[in-house]
Amino acid sequence: MSFSLLIAQLINGLQTGSVYALVALGYSMVYGIIKLLNFAHGDIIMVGAYMTYYAIASFALPPAVAVVLDIAASTLLGVFVEKVAYTPLRSAPRLSLLITAIGVSFLLENGAQLVFGAGQKSMDPMITGSFMMGRVNVSYTAIVTIVVSVARMVLLTFVVNKTKAGKAMRAVSEDMGAAQLMGISLNRTISMTFAIGSALAGVGSVLYMCAYTQASPTMGSMLGIKAFVAAVLGGIGSIPGAMIGGFTIGILEALVAAVGLSMWKDAAVFLVLIVVLLFKPTGFMGKKLQEKV
């Protein structure tokens, strides 16, 4: 592999990784706060992607409007799912919650198949053109994707660490009961987390459409699972961790594809996950948890 090809693949990987990272942030936040592996998260991206497609390809709306619509739809859907499916189960065993999440994910997937049709929907790329960086051809899409996702991460870190809402989120994830005693509204904080996570998914779906320009009902499941892998790799509940995990997965995939093993891409991702879980279950940046009896 020549050096310029390697750089090109790295940039590809960073681009895919940014999408994973954005989705992983949503996973990570929700997991951090109610310990739920929100399987439906990937499918919210799918709905967002369809939104983008219809807004731009069918109704010819300007991209800025499409992005706003997409983010609004994803956020509403995320909060709606939380209110309808997860809130009634807040005191139920974790297993029930997880199964509900799987059910919601399947419902969205199959519902989308009915509403949008089973086939793929393709649209023209939103951002075109590229420039030469040395001898490497870099598309503007890649640059936009990477910059947007890094910006979102910085913003999110600021929100979680500096604002009152962020403080409430951290308190709830630390100890739900104690947070409630301190006057934090549990419902509002959890909904807020879902809203932010789903909004990030919305941004992720726009970036996904920029990169791949096609939406299909099942695109969310593998994307969601890989994003979760990214979140686990980085250490669940940690914002920079999700970012690092996302980039790791993206670059890994790009490199595996570059050496001609693109069919083994998924297996490689899961293999890395398994190895990390076995040797460092808390991920790269995760906190160690003590089991209480």
Binding site: I99, G103, S105, L114, M263, A267, L271, L277, L278
Partner: protein, 366 residues
């Protein structure tokens, strides 16, 4: 509970005789039904075979999901391993020629060997996956088994290019597998699998598995080797899934890696959850219903998966225990309670000591 309902107890051999008799009766009824329904018999036979396969899959997942209390999402992977192992073995035997000649009896030894091979291979995979995976819990276990399941599928799809010869035939599919899964074969193996699960769960090993579900730390502190029992239950479940896979291969005749996607694992999980995690009867009922219902609602088939997933969500919100909860039906216990109830009835007429309704059989059994 008063003494009367405790008074009547069936002996274990009697229970087994009754259960065997009922099993044979069900078999006779099904056979009569198939041969009696003429032209449609072939269609019904196919559905019944699928029902049998799904029963094995659901009850085997129930061992880990309901009895052990873990949530693995890679069951389709074990099914795939079993299916390919059994299919590759059957293709290497003269079974196809024998079946074409109509000599079904001569195929039986090959079928038995194929099922055993499938169970063993799936069991080995279960052991290899279970030992590392079961160190994790809850969501992490779910995601790691999902990962292993996907790896199995990717490997089956791409192994040929590594080996350099045709082994699984990759994405183009393993075709022309001898179709050895007849109704009798499926019935016998379903009965054997259910029996094995029953016996396993009634043994002290099964009790140990249940205690891990109820409280792992407490189980460990009374000296139960939790790692050993978790792995045992996991391997056992994987082996049965392998058996189901083998029978599936023998029914469908050709295998594609895409048959064993993550979706398949979820379908099996839906059966277990709807039936009630920890109830074998529940798994059996929901496997039967969820196989037959879509067939009856053919025109409705676009909505099948939507209804499935909606049912799953609603079930979790309104009845998280599933249809049957952890209740398990036991014919022996039911007879006992019926007898006790009748005795109570006569006593009351004669002199009147009240007899409450007897305990509903809480034991695992068919």
């Amino acid at each position: 509970m008063d003494k009367l309902s405790k008074g009547f107890r069936l002996k274990t051999p009697v229970r087994y005789i009754i259960n065997t008799a009922v099993t044979v009766l069900i078999w006779a009824l099904l056979t009569a039904f198939i041969s009696g329904s003429g032209i449609k018999g072939e269609y019904y036979r196919g559905i019944l075979i699928t029902v049998g396969i799904n029963i094995i899959l659901a009850t085997s997942l129930n061992v880990v999901c309901g009895y052990l209390g873990q949530l693995p999402l890679g069951h389709a992977g074990f099914m795939a391993v079993g299916a390919y192992a059994g299919a590759i073995f059957m293709k290497s035997t003269p079974a196809a020629t024998l079946l074409r000649a109509g000599n079904h009896a001569a195929v039986i030894p090959y079928v038995i060997i194929a099922v055993i091979i499938s169970a063993l291979v799936a069991g080995v995979f279960g052991l290899l996956i279970g030992i590392p995976a079961l160190r994790l819990k809850g969501d992490y276990l779910a995601i790691i088994t999902l990962g292993f399941g996907e790896i199995i599928r990717v490997v089956i799809t791409n192994i040929d290019s590594v080996l350099g010869f045709k082994f699984t035939y990759g994405a183009s599919g393993l075709a022309r597998i001898p179709k050895f899964t007849s109704l009798n074969v499926i019935f016998v193996f379903t009965a054997i699998c259910l029996f094995l699960i029953h016996v396993f769960m009634k043994s002290r090993h099964g009790r140990a598995v249940l205690s891990i579900r109820d409280n792992e730390i407490a189980a460990e502190s009374v000296g139960i080797n939790t790692t050993f029992y978790k792995t045992t239950a996991f391997v056992f479940s994987a082996m049965l899934a392998g058996v189901a896979g083998c029978l599936y291969a023998g029914y469908i005749g050709s295998l594609y890696p895409s048959n064993f996607k993550f979706m398949k694992s979820i379908e099996i999980l839906v059966m277990v959850v709807l039936g009630g995690m920890g109830s074998m009867l529940g798994s059996v009922i929901s496997a039967v219903v969820l196989t037959i219902l879509p067939e009856m609602l053919r025109s409705f088939s676009d909505y099948r998966m939507v209804v499935y997933s909606l049912a799953l969500v609603l079930m979790m919100i309104f009845r998280p225990k599933g249809l049957m909860g952890t209740y398990d039906f036991s014919l022996g216990s039911s007879i006992e309670s019926a007898v006790a109830w009748m005795r109570g009835l006569f006593r009351r007429k004669g002199g009147g000591s009240p007899a409450g309704p007897a305990d509903d059989g809480k034991e695992a059994g068919r």
